[in-house]
């Protein structure tokens, strides 16, 4: 199986997930059978069209939307940019924990006009914490649900959302495919102007193969009982790692609120005093354990993660942070492997550090 090609312990699922074997199969089949342009009226074109509409229906049903309210995009960044740009010149309020594709787009497009747009993610990608959605009053509310989809059940209507962002590659689907929920009747301005695709809401030839992969990944979420697996099995792995880190590693602290109902079950962000995040990440990498960090060094920036800064207010804590994000392929053996080497790595970095414990 592709996942274990390098015999690694992969704990960076929040960054991207390996393609599910059934997704690879579905996409390969689509490459051969559904290559025709889905906008064409001929039979192969119509078959491609049906494949895409099937995906739209599955996604709509999963998130409580009408299929006509779902637009396919190239991914979460495009979905986020589309919503923000729709409110060009308007007041835009974002949570401090938003992804750069929200924060940077809002910086470029925001103005003073009403109505106002609120953009608040439901769960953060770096720490996994849930956020409270704001009272949108007479404005509009967008939520980036990239990390939520497939992990916990969600309903856009019950949440009172006007717009929501989704991505395929966080649930075992391909990179380059995403979707945007746009509630019936709310303002909308296409980002890509072109043909009649997506009812003139997003130009560009349909990415049939990519969408076939998204569709298969969504079907797996539904058919394999993923919500329950995340809530029980994955949460157990995450919580076990959290408890073992706190118990076995001096100077460790959690940046994720692991109390039930406070965060996604698959993300754990922890900091290790006096040990720098990129160094921990690369020592783990040398042991075949794949994680990410909020340290500035790793991002090629001089500032550490804005999310860790917003959550902890402490640059040293942010520089020393590691994110472990789990997927359904992980096992307790992976947690054991991390804890076989992590205490030693942190101890060594702490002993060679200029900072005392």
């Amino acid at each position: 199986m592709c996942y274990n090609l390098y015999k690694m312990v992969y704990l960076d699922y929040a960054a991207t997930t390996p393609l599910l074997p059934e997704v690879i199969k579905a996409m390969h089949e689509a490459e051969l059978k559904y290559f025709a342009n889905a906008s064409a009226l001929h039979t192969p074109g119509h078959l491609s069209h049906n494949l895409i509409e099937g995906c739209r229906e599955i996604l709509a049903e999963m998130v409580g939307a009408d299929p006509s309210e779902i637009i396919f995009t190239s991914g979460a960044t495009e979905s986020n940019n589309t919503v923000i740009r729709t409110f060009e010149g308007h007041e835009i309020e974002t949570s401090p924990l938003e992804h750069h594709s929200i924060i940077e787009a809002a910086r470029v497009y925001k103005g003073a006009k009403k109505p106002k747009l609120y953009s608040y993610m439901l769960a953060n990608n770096e720490i996994g914490d849930f956020l409270d959605l704001p009272d949108k009053k007479d404005g509009f509310l967008h939520s980036d649900l990239t990390q939520i989809l497939g992990k916990i059940p969600v309903n856009v209507k019950k949440l009172g959302l006007d717009y929501a962002t989704f991505s395929a590659h966080k649930i075992g689907g391909p990179v380059g495919v995403g979707a945007l929920y746009v509630r019936e009747g709310v303002p909308f301005k296409p980002l890509l102007i072109g043909g009649l695709q997506e009812k003139k809401r997003r130009g560009g030839t349909y990415n049939t193969v990519g969408i076939s992969g998204f569709r298969r990944a969504l079907e797996s979420v539904k058919n394999k009982g993923n919500f329950k697996k995340y809530d029980k099995e994955v949460r157990n792995l995450r919580d076990t790692l959290a408890q073992r880190i706190l118990k076995e590693i001096p100077g460790s602290s959690l940046n994720t609120n692991i109390e039930k109902g406070k965060s996604l079950p698959n993300i754990l962000n922890a900091s290790f005093k006096a040990a720098e995040g990129e160094s921990i990440q690369l020592y783990l990498d040398a042991e075949g354990i794949i994680v990410s960090t909020g340290s500035a060094c790793a991002a090629g920036d001089i500032r550490p993660s804005h999310v860790l800064m917003a959550k902890t207010g402490d640059a040293e804590v942010a520089h020393s942070s590691i994110r472990f994000s789990f997927g359904l392929e992980n096992t307790m053996e992976d947690v054991d492997k991390v804890m076989e080497v992590l205490p030693g790595i942190v101890d060594r970095l702490q002993k060679v550090s200029t900072i005392g414990l």
């Binding site: 720098e276 990129e278 060094c297 090629g300 550490p304 040293e316 002993k351 550090s353 200029t354």
Partner: protein, 134 residues
């Protein structure tokens, strides 16, 4: 320089100095009988380095050198490399060591890493100045 075919973000020399750092001071600094020490950087910025030197009074040469670093892989590797470059040099020679020398020795760091992670030579200068003041 193309990084194609290279499975690690840094050069092999950087990797080697990161995974097997030379001359580092493990634990309590009082374990090393040094003549002077110097410091550079700030943990808030993500990197801090300390250099400890033992000087041969007769020859004015660095007889032994140790270091401590809080920082990323290239910060650790560059401090380790500096300790190798500086060992055995006279204090005047050691003052001449530049960030470019360290970068060259390591087989070049990625550009965005150069300024933030090669700081050790300033800590060494600080140590030499402290030695001469004492």
């Amino acid at each position: 320089m193309s990084t194609e075919g290279q499975d690690w973000v840094y050069s092999e020399t950087v990797k080697d100095h990161f995974l097997n750092p030379r001359n580092f001071l493990m634990g309590d600094e009082s374990k090393f009988d040094y003549d002077a020490c110097g410091i550079v950087g700030n943990p808030i910025c993500g990197d801090q380095m300390k250099m400890y030197i033992k000087v041969d009074k007769k020859s004015d040469k660095i007889k032994d050198i140790k270091w401590k670093t809080y920082g990323c892989a290239s910060a650790i590797a560059s401090t380790s490399a500096l300790s190798e470059i500086a060992k055995g040099k006279t204090l005047d020679e050691a003052l001449e060591i530049t960030a470019e020398d360290i970068d060259e020795y390591l087989g070049k760091l990625p550009k965005h890493k150069f300024h933030c992670s090669i700081l050790g030579h300033d800590a060494l200068k600080d140590a030499i100045n402290n030695y001469r003041k004492s």
